[in-house]
Amino acid sequence: MTGPTTIDVRDVAIERGARQVLHGVSFSAARGELLALMGVSGTGKTSLLRALSGLDPIAAGEIRIGDVHLQPGRVPRLRELHRSVSMVFQFHHLFSHMSALQNVCLSPVHVLHESRAAAERRGRGLLEMLGVESRADAMPHELSGGEAQRVAIARALAVDPGVLLMDEPTASLDEARRRDLAATLLQLARQGRTVVVATHDTDFARACAHRAVMLEEGRIAREGGLSDVLRVF
């Protein structure tokens, strides 16, 4: 099911001011793999995702994502990184002054320099794939939590990234929506994307992840198949 390695994290440490939130974390993920980053709140899952997406620097170690190499103190080649890595935030962070479709098309038009018409066509296609095409013209505050999340996924997929990072995607979803999301993420992985999901929702992880990394107090406690990693739950 999985292909060559696309994410390689080696001995990564992350600091928040004087506090070290991650201590020498190493793991990798392959093309077509859906990896669950697990652990209770405050174990460093979100910090790790932010480092993978180039939002925050790392204090030690290195991260390789495709051709991009992130090191402590080095300014990453963000454009190149963001062509291959997209992130869906826990609170979606849809641009509040734009409609759902405009949110999806913004990056293709201004970063990939696609024509507006082509970007809109593709944007509508993504919204349709995620089942929210009818909400294309709605403003973010008019969307339900589940709709907003699917629009945020469509926005992240609009640049056709090889790696999709998701932070606590089930936080605002009911059971039915969780099942839909799990199916969607598996479909994205099948299309050849690497999907990394930070979650503390074990049922959701069991439903979709190929593999899991369990973080405890900023360190990897277990890593491997879902049944091994989640045996204590």
């Binding site: 939002l55 963001h82 935030f89 962070h93 002054h97 970063v111 640049v159």
Partner: protein
Amino acid sequence: MSSRLAIIAIGLLLSSAKVVNAQQAPELRWGGDAEGGAPFVEADPRDPARLIGFDVEIAELLARDLARAPRFVQVAFTSLDASAARGDFDIGLSGIEDGPARRTRLAVTVPYYEFREILTVREADRDRFRTLADLRRRRVATLGATLAYDMLVAAQAEHGIVPVTYEDDVHPYSDLALGRVDAVVLDYVLAERGVARNAGLANQEAELGVGRYVGVLAPDRTALRDRINGILQQAMRDGRLEAIFRRWNMWNEDQPRLYARVLASDATEMLPANASAATLNVWDATRRYFPSLLNAALITLMLSCAAMVLAVVVGVLIASGRVYGPRPLNAVLTGYVEVIRGTPLLLQLFVLYFGLASFVQLPAFLAALIGLGLNYAAYESEIHRAALEAVPQGQLDAARTLGFSDAQTLALVRGPQAFRLALAPMTNDFVALLKDSSLVSVITVVELTKQTSIFAANIGSWLVPGALCAALYLVLSLPLARLARRIEKGWRRE
């Protein structure tokens, strides 16, 4: 405790003794504008606490003969009539011109000095600009709310000159020397002084009109006015007035003729030859002045809109520089904001227009636009900086993970969202700017408030001009506030 009470009691006794003393020596409160300068009223350069000028000496003469102590009350020149009518002082003396409006609304003394209005031009134009008729489409300066201003308004209709009003009598001449205006019309007392102070100016011989200085009192003070008339006439007879004007190098052959007429006839019938709007009643005057008020309102609107555009553009640049720029740039921009916010707009306008005149001669409207625009840019920059910083970090993170550069994030995400937050305070700022634009009259731009004060001075009342002016400001500002509210509402719905 008892000693403290004793001290308080002694203090009270002393202060009540002072009051009794003051009541024993009644005052002659006389109003004037020390900004008018010599030879009328000015602070003594050797002792600024003391006033000098021929009007000061006349006030002292009157006080002496009335057995009172003279006490000066500072009042802006254009407010002297209104202040006299209110009874802020017993008599106003500050080169106040005789005129029918004054006579109908105030108790006016006999004239004590006669002057001629003359034309001052640059030496090089002496043969070209001999009369107002030669000054078609040329800028001709004078003091606002004076006989000379009325003459220029008449010449505007007749000869197509462009009247430019000043708040003081020094800058018309310095601006003439600099080439900002092509002529000045004022009385020869001021003209002589202007020519003496500025090289390259010349007074034309021909007289454009004749005016007389009078004292003004509240309309019900006719008894005091009559006593003062008696004192002035006596001073004309015994040479005391002559002595005062000789001290100020103002005595000439016109004065004995004036005094002879004043002493021989009923001087209150002597009116200036070219009394104009002042003879009209309030409603006729309103009809006559309303078009010029509308014109002035248009200038206010144009100036405010252009200055606001400049303020927003510069304000956004400053805010962006402070949010995104390196530390030295941030320090420079913060310095700009603090200096501009910490100093009066009036001072900035003076420096920009008069202070920099020897380096760069900005036209008055442009100087007003730049002055207002750059001043409000400092306030705008704070609004936009706060708005930029109020955009949630999550929005910026999302933009970054989508591959936008800082500039793209600012233009596509942060800027538009910040603008929505800034709209309400920006509207406030615009309304404030609209009203602050009245300050530019000090650099000769006749906008709504200035035109109103000229109107009010000419008809001798603020009631109708003030109400019209307020109505016009509301007409300008209310639709804008409504529009801003509608936009905001629309955005909130989004």
